[in-house]
């Protein structure tokens, strides 16, 4: 993908806008200058034509003829002229001049200009060779013998005067190019200025980027530059970065701790196995001793297997937890009942009866296997920490749109100092870890992961030597009709 630069894009945008306005200014200037110059040119032509008319005099032949007094004609070298009388006779014309009268075509769009003397002037174009000319035709009246008693003879005279338009165009071009060049200079200066200003203005962004670049998996310290925090546009980015990093760091550290704990746990398990085998081979033993040693080693292996299985289970729950949809719908009461029935043998063997207080059916979006695992874990915990002959009460009821399941035992209880840590992975205070149960210290962590995956909650309340109550809340997917029912298992 082509890299995209905000600076470059901004500069390009501004320069394009400037270029467009410069083109507009130049065009307007061109139109204005052309109009202005041609107007003065026309005035000049008119003046020249008038003076040409003024040079028409009575011919000395006495036949009321007219003649052009060449000495009084004042024309530029390049200009052309022609004067004709009403008989279309040429009174005079400049050298090398084509027939101006024949080639004259008045411009249609402009009516002939009439001045105070009654002279009519109209303009036209002419091309001689590669030269463009502007032609003026003035229709004038000459009065011969004005002092005569009948007022003299009025004769119509037509004067054509043509001047090259090249100087005019040159002047226009000069004026327009001034505007164009000024615009280009402004454009260049603006471009450089903008590049510099944007570079300065984007400094906080760069500082932020370099601050963010220093973050790595091993170093999570992110110190956003003050400039970035005080920049209105960057402040939300800084805040977002900080919160994302915090979350990431938290989960990263959690993962790291988990990996560390898992490594510790597995190393310990391997140490047990290794030392068991080495102990066995330390000296010659009887076959009974070997037999016993092998059995114990096998039990150690089994425990290690259990630990690995539970670790994988925990990882799986946490992985699926995030993407669990409300697709599953499980009747919590029915599954809880099935778990209680499943553990009946154990309950009877330990002479700890389980009471189940259940209501009709409560449907929640939780995978049935996970719900069963949750209940089995908590119930086995309760059974294992209860003295024989005591009671375990399991109740499930709807409360505030969630199913509340309580596992209540009359066991030894948990040290209050340990309660905040019981849900931690491989927690040393996890009651499932004690010798009696040979647990892995993952049981309650798995329970918490399951409950968290459905946005529920799990709370432990315990009194030493009085008992422990675990309260689990799982949000229901639909309201249900509570039907009180009590079952004795």
């Amino acid at each position: 993908m082509k890299s995209y630069s905000i600076t470059r894009r901004l500069i390009m945008t501004v320069l394009l806008v400037e270029l467009a306005s410069a083109l507009c200014v130049t065009a307007v200037a061109y139109l204005y200058e052309r109009h202005d110059h041609f107007r003065s040119f026309d005035v000049l032509l008119r003046g020249r034509a008038d003076s040409l008319l003024g040079s028409v005099q009575e011919a000395a032949d006495g036949h009321d003829g007219l003649m052009l007094d060449g000495s009084e004609v004042d024309v530029d070298d390049d200009d052309l002229y022609e004067v004709r009388d009403d008989g279309n006779r040429v009174l005079g014309r400049s050298a090398h001049t084509p027939d101006l009268a024949a080639s004259f075509h008045p411009e249609d769009d402009r009516p002939p200009m009439v001045d105070s003397d009654g002279d009519q002037a109209s303009f036209g174009k002419l091309k001689v060779g590669d030269k463009s000319f502007r032609v003026i035709r003035v229709l004038g009246i000459r009065i011969i013998d004005p002092g005569h008693k009948d007022g003299g003879v009025r004769r119509n005279v037509t004067a054509y005067y043509a001047a090259s338009t090249r100087p005019v165009w040159r002047a226009i071009q000069k004026a327009v190019s001034f505007y164009a060049y000024s615009s280009l200079i402004v454009l260049a200066v603006t471009g450089l200025l903008m590049a510099w200003l944007l570079n300065r203005g984007l400094a906080p962004l760069r500082e932020l980027a370099s601050g963010a670049a220093r973050i790595s998996a091993t170093s999570w310290t992110f110190l956003p530059p003050e400039a970035a925090r005080n920049t209105q546009e960057l402040a939300p980015l800084v805040v977002a970065l900080e919160s994302v990093l915090q979350g990431l760091q938290h989960s990263f550290e959690q993962q790291r701790r988990f990996v560390g704990d898992a490594a510790h746990e597995l190393k310990t398990n391997v140490a047990v196995l290794k030392s068991s085998l080495q102990l066995l081979s330390m000296k010659p033993r009887t076959s009974a001793e070997y037999q016993q040693g092998l059995e114990r080693t096998l039990a150690d292996c089994h425990r290690m297997e259990e630990t690995v299985a539970q670790m994988l289970m925990l990882a799986r729950i946490e992985e699926t937890g995030a993407k669990l949809s409300s697709g599953a719908s499980t009747d919590l009461v029915a599954y809880l009942r099935s778990v209680v029935i499943e553990l009946e043998t154990m309950s009877e063997a330990e002479t700890i009866p389980i009471y189940l207080e259940g209501h009709g059916s409560l449907i929640a979006a939780i995978e049935p296997e996970q719900f069963q695992l949750l209940c089995v874990n908590l119930l086995i915990n309760a059974l294992q920490h209860s003295p024989a002959g005591s009671l375990v009460i399991v109740s499930i009821a709807e409360r505030d749109g969630a199913a509340e399941i309580r596992f209540q035992d009359q066991g030894e209880g948990i040290d209050p100092a340990d309660i905040p840590h019981v849900f931690e992975r491989f927690s040393r205070s996890d009651p499932s870890r004690s010798r009696k149960t040979g647990g892995t210290g993952l049981g309650l962590a798995i329970c918490k992961a399951i409950v968290d995956s459905v946005h529920g909650s799990i709370v432990i309340d315990s009194q030493i030597n009085e008992g422990t109550t675990v309260a689990v809340r799982i949000p229901l997917s639909q309201p249900s009709e509570p039907r009180p029912a009590t079952a004795r298992i």
């Binding site: 560390g260 190393k267 310990t268 391997v270 140490a271 290794k274 102990l279 330390m282 150690d300 040393r428």
Partner: protein
């Protein structure tokens, strides 16, 4: 010798304890959590403490600091599952004498335990010598000159303990504390019986020319003392 094993992983603790009892023949006590461990360590009757780091209630580092804060010089061998150098350094700086990372070799553990106990008592070599009496702690054999002396396990332990602390008065109480763990039924008079047997087995008659042997002197109400023969002669000449 008596060793305290503080380790919450019960199977591992069992294995270490069995190995220490079967191998060098030490008395072993076990604590499954930090608090019990520290409580036992306060009795000052151990020649070595094997300490796990991750323990419930009180962690290994806390125990180590607490032990050293009381100027208790008992050698401590730390078992750790963390194999980072920084952790090792901080452990040794906190007062640990040695460490082993899990999973360790049981033979190495025993060798290190023996070496630490030896060092803790100012002895460098696994073979102890007193006069012509030689005690090999590795093979657990005793020789008087070229002649092997057969001792019962308890007699061996008493002799080993005394030879680690020559010329020092060792009370009967100290012997009891260092040679028996809490699982043992013990009475102070068993020590007397063992010592008298020991004297008979290693003592050489002074009339016969032969290897010179140290004598175990009894100091009434105070204890026992291992004396080299020259010292014994000096004592007897005074009488």
């Amino acid at each position: 010798m008596r060793v305290l094993v503080i380790e919450d992983e019960l199977r591992l603790a069992e294995n270490i304890a069995t190995a220490l009892r079967e191998g060098p023949g030490f008395a072993v006590d076990h604590a499954a959590d930090g608090e019990t461990g520290l409580h036992l360590a306060r009795n000052l009757c151990y020649d070595l403490i094997v300490l796990d780091l991750m323990l419930p209630k009180l962690d290994g580092r806390g125990i180590l600091k607490s032990i050293r804060a009381r100027k208790d010089l008992t050698p401590v061998l730390v078992l750790t599952a963390v194999s980072e150098t920084s952790s090792t350094i901080s452990l040794l700086n906190a007062g640990a004498d040695d460490y082993l990372s899990k999973p360790f070799d049981l033979g190495e553990l025993l060798a290190r335990v023996k070496a630490l106990i030896r060092r803790g008592k100012g002895v460098a070599h696994p073979t102890l010598q007193a006069g012509d009496l030689t005690l090999n702690t590795l093979e657990q054999t005793v020789h008087l000159g070229d002649k092997a002396v057969t001792l019962s396990p308890m007699e061996y332990r008493i002799l080993e303990y005394l030879m680690h602390r020559p010329r020092v008065i060792v009370s009967k109480q100290e012997l009891l504390e260092h040679l028996y763990d809490y699982n043992w039924e013990h009475h102070s008079n068993v020590i007397e019986v063992h010592v008298s047997n020991l004297r008979r087995k290693i003592g050489s008659s002074s009339n016969e020319p032969g290897p010179s042997s140290p004598a175990i002197e009894t100091l009434r109400n105070r204890g026992y003392r291992l004396l080299l023969e020259r010292a014994v002669e000096a004592v007897s000449s005074e009488v």
